[in-house]
Amino acid sequence: MAAEAAALDEPEMSAERLSAERPSSERVARLVREHYRFVWRLLRRLGLGEGDADDAAQQVFLAASGRLRTVEPARERSFLYGVALNVGARARRSLGRRREESLEAAGEREAREPNAEQVLERREARALLDQLLDEMPEDLRVVFVLFELEELSTPEIAEVCAIPVGTAASRLRRAREDFEERVARAEARRRFAGVAK
């Protein structure tokens, strides 16, 4: 599945081929309605800003629609996630510089954020979540997001990422440990910042 999705790295194809391989518009429309929100959210948690996630999500469906005929309906979601991982990775590479700048901004934001005991506003919570995810190794981050946020099972993650199930399980275990450590450190920093004020 991931190999099939990886083939979509080059979305260009002739108009004739596009036309010949294009699935029915009803199916594409249904695909967008059913999965757009999940794809968009996945792209956000993989490090894209809201506007960039809009563009990238369009790119995902544009690329996926060219190969949809070869995908069974039951496998659409994992197929789309595979495409989204490729598109997201490419978008992040091109946004590298902007991302560094946003990380600096997030660091400044964190210093102003309330103590852990206080209820976090959702937007602030998402900013911190994105910062912590940004700091994780890429292979762990992908597995973690797919499991914790998109609620895929380990076998589904293995299929999307084209890795053995055992490897997916091992990465997931390490990713959860990594994330919890980062959260604990962030919590400690907040407490320290609260005391120092």
């Binding site: 108009a15 956000r44 369009q58 959702r122």
Partner: protein, 251 residues
């Protein structure tokens, strides 16, 4: 192998709080609709059901059902009640009539120098005779129920005010796409050429430029296709269609 309990399911803790916040984030309805338009399938939703409605009983009912569907997929949550009221007013207008192209020959505007989102610059029109010119009173396009709910736009029609519902833009672009798809490329292009005049906000401009690009390309009107491609690449470099446009510009 059993998956561990998800952190977000825990009753408390900062980690669970963060993950729940992340899981609740949603794109805007506008974002979903723009994706449907970019993929050229926004009409698929409406066409199917509208056809059923037509079979059930007449054009009036078709309009009503089409409007309901339009409201469901395009209007609700995107443009708000005021926007929907505007669409409804247009949809029920007795003045609704078939599309009439601006003239017997296609009139296009040089676009390369135009800004990405601006009032159309006053430029000399250029007549293009790539297709058999339609008669003065052009035949109506094939019935496409979902597009009939919006009052047709002619070259003489006043521009819609800034803030017109996105639904109206979607319907307009869909109508142009339907014309092109049914072989009436010149009428489709005429509509697309008037898009920025009708909708100064031009929220679907990347999609319109891409549709123009494709249509000109299919007609073999390479220079115009390249002009649309250049404008798309220059104005919307991050648009999903930009890479295909670049390919046309720099083969």
């Amino acid at each position: 192998m059993t998956d561990p309990e998800r952190i977000s399911k825990r009753s408390s803790g900062l980690a669970a709080q963060l993950l729940r916040a992340g899981g609740e984030e949603q794109p805007s309805e506008n974002s979903v609709e723009k994706a449907l338009v970019a993929l050229g399938v926004s009409s698929a939703v409406m066409t199917t059901s509208a056809a059923g409605a037509a079979a059930a009983g007449g054009a009036k009912l078709t309009k009503a059902v089409s409007f309901t569907l339009l409201a469901k997929w395009v209007g609700i949550g995107v443009v708000g009640g005021v926007g929907l009221a505007s669409v409804a007013a247009v949809a029920t207008s007795p003045a609704a009539a078939p599309v009439t192209p601006p003239s017997a020959s296609i009139v296009t505007k040089p676009r390369l120098a135009a800004p990405a989102k601006a009032t159309p610059a006053p430029v000399e029109p250029t007549s293009v005779e790539a297709e058999p010119a339609p008669a003065e009173a052009a035949p109506a396009p094939p019935a496409s129920p979902h597009v009939s709910i919006i009052e047709p736009v002619t070259s003489a029609a006043p521009a819609l005010e800034v803030g017109a519902p996105l639904a109206a833009e979607v319907a307009y672009v869909d109508r142009a796409r339907a014309l092109v798809a049914s072989g009436q490329a010149s009428q489709g292009l005429a509509l697309l050429g008037g898009y920025e005049r009708e909708f100064p906000e031009a929220r679907l401009l990347p999609e319109v430029l891409f549709l123009e690009l494709q249509t000109f390309d299919q007609l073999g009107r390479t220079a115009e296709a390249r002009a649309a491609a250049k404008r798309l690449v220059d104005g919307f470099p991050k648009s999903p269609h930009a890479s295909r446009a670049r390919r046309l510009l720099f083969p």
